[in-house]
Symmetry: D2
Subunit: 244 residues, 4 copies
Amino acid sequence: MKIYSVIFSSVVLLISNSYTMAQETPEWVPELTEDWEYVPEVITPGTNNQAPSDAIVLFDGTDLDSWEGGDWKVEDGAVTVEPGTGGIRTKKGFGDIQLHIEWRSPEVVDGDGQGRGNSGVFLQGRYEVQVLDMYENTTYPNGQTGSVYKQHAPLANASLPPGEWQSYDIIYEAPIFKDDGRLAKPAFVTVIHNGVLIQNRVQIKGPTEYIGLPKYEKHPEKLPLELQDHSDLVSFRNIWVREL
Amino acid sequence: MKIYSVIFSSVVLLISNSYTMAQETPEWVPELTEDWEYVPEVITPGTNNQAPSDAIVLFDGTDLDSWEGGDWKVEDGAVTVEPGTGGIRTKKGFGDIQLHIEWRSPEVVDGDGQGRGNSGVFLQGRYEVQVLDMYENTTYPNGQTGSVYKQHAPLANASLPPGEWQSYDIIYEAPIFKDDGRLAKPAFVTVIHNGVLIQNRVQIKGPTEYIGLPKYEKHPEKLPLELQDHSDLVSFRNIWVREL
Amino acid sequence: MKIYSVIFSSVVLLISNSYTMAQETPEWVPELTEDWEYVPEVITPGTNNQAPSDAIVLFDGTDLDSWEGGDWKVEDGAVTVEPGTGGIRTKKGFGDIQLHIEWRSPEVVDGDGQGRGNSGVFLQGRYEVQVLDMYENTTYPNGQTGSVYKQHAPLANASLPPGEWQSYDIIYEAPIFKDDGRLAKPAFVTVIHNGVLIQNRVQIKGPTEYIGLPKYEKHPEKLPLELQDHSDLVSFRNIWVREL
Amino acid sequence: MKIYSVIFSSVVLLISNSYTMAQETPEWVPELTEDWEYVPEVITPGTNNQAPSDAIVLFDGTDLDSWEGGDWKVEDGAVTVEPGTGGIRTKKGFGDIQLHIEWRSPEVVDGDGQGRGNSGVFLQGRYEVQVLDMYENTTYPNGQTGSVYKQHAPLANASLPPGEWQSYDIIYEAPIFKDDGRLAKPAFVTVIHNGVLIQNRVQIKGPTEYIGLPKYEKHPEKLPLELQDHSDLVSFRNIWVREL
């Protein structure tokens, strides 16, 4: 029977060793840091800046069905400001978004400084990323193309000549307010202009003001995207957003 | 003399009015918030994801002169991992960067999970954005394509089929350490995969570890960018960075 | 008439200068940056760590009317854990708060490591600032007194001997979640232990777990403050919060 | 021999089960998240706001040996502004600090608004936390007691009557600059006034300006703490800092 007890002891030893090891020198194994919980949605990316499959296409060149406001014209796959009719805004409201938008200032240059190819992408209708013909133009840098208007000059001037299509890829985090109206988290924006990073998640200080200092005021979580009528014949195309 | 004193009084009145107004009801004018100090550099953007004029081109399809390490092969404008020779790293070190890089996993699928088109973009040689053939593939999400390896799963799976070129546009903020080695500011990374935002300035927790938890260790401000040899025949092309 | 025209010219010059200056070089005056909008509430501070006039007193030494849960005892102006009856929690829920709380571990030391004067302040019932008798005691630092349990070791060990009253002054920012459950802003906590800063607005990684890694789960904006029954006879007194 | 083989099989099974489990469902054990690496320094806290053992005492009521600048007077354990002689600043420079300082405005009130018990705590000599007799006084809130001057009004007015000693407990994170002068991380400050949180890690926008907008300029990592001579007879005592 001796052999039995030897074997039995071995078994006990094995088990208790295993237990002791687990207690005293726990081993990290690769599987412990594998996180299977959140499975990212499978989407189909677009090619040549076209919308990925999970995007909301706001303007594909055909109509302004997703927009309201000014009486702007659609022609040749682009929509152009109709001066004096006011800006246009999406019917749908948005919070955090990735936005792709292309714009073109008039080929014939007329005016200078702020008076040349001026329009704007108004995130949530109140936080402006400036659109301007800044090719061989001069203005205050915190109001030039790609500026967060009067808050943050862009890191670089990556403008193309007037008449050429330019792109903005924007990552926007909406502000969060407390119930009593105070700010819980400011808005942030990243802007890539023609493939060049020009705003690196800068903190937005409040609605972008022409006069005076910005000051946050509580607003709904989702608000329309707006494009500005600044009297210049700026055109837009290929506009899509992904809700983040 | 009366006329003199009337005129004189008018002058005094004008001056004092002007003074009083300035004191009591100072007026904001638009010019006060025009900031002319920092003039952004004028650069020429690239087209079709080519490098802008202020970028450092790390690989344009011709040679690996900017790199050292593994004995990888350049062919048809692409460089491909030479399994077993180790990763390659830039001769130059980088801190904060905007990085564009394109990669392709082998058209013939061999293996699954982590064993399929596996490589990696190692920011500063220690913070990995995962490269993997994730097209109709399954693995732990925090290790899939575009993950900050074992730290942050991507927001979406925007993979293209094996054999197709895919792109990463990365915005990287290097960590900052105090003199005594403690962390003053962690690293952050934003990743756009094939035009789709998949990492939104996530906070990097430390070097990306296969086993165990990440932990920051003080390192130089600038360090080489590395591409991983994970035994799979992953190719790369069109690699450029802009120092931020 | 010459004198008239000289005077008249001077007046015109004065006016036009003034106008030109306003247009071209607008003057900043101190008043422009005086902000009269938000008037802070006038409150009466406490002396010797007593509650200020705008605080909610949770325990002033007399009763547990603001609490529910375990059957703890009030004696001599302090409340002491009744082992086995469970923790106690405030009837009212809280979001962002400034919290003052005083605690005392038993004068007679019995046990070591985690088994000595162990309790905990659970912010929103799930984020623990550890309470432990850490005077000449040894345990894992990310579980010692003032740690954010298993997430952040304190910056210093400012413990007093067992049997003495110690204080925590805590500034807590609650996490913010999106409607779909994802985290919009993590929680942060600052802890001052006996007047010494030991946690400097560290980012809380999720509920503080004994086993495994923390992971946020969406919860209501306001939740009760809890004190832990960890079987040790820890006492508390002078507990007040200010809602931020 | 059958019994042997049964036992042997059991052993093999046990081992292989154990192996399989480790591979497929690795178990988290509490020890894995115990972090023993960083051992916080043991210090002795002060009582009644006295300096803890690791603090640098800048003024204990006896002399101004740690200071230079204005010709201020030490009397009865306090130091008082000597109007017209200028501010005083520490000989030693500081970066991130916890600061305790007590101050008192003159018992006899003379003047109002900014002209009453005005002085200031200048972090790194350029970021002012305002000192003012704000007891039943009125001024622009972003310039009142505990404001980050002209940047952030305090959350509350926790002032004591003139002639009484008041305290500031300040947590300050110095800004970090890049080599080229750009800001890598702004400064942050938390202020507790008489035990009441009045600034909750607000972001400092640059040097606190009397006229115009703040703008960061690169400066050394460590700079003296300064106290302002604003012509009023403000006194200070019990000043200590802990370097963070």
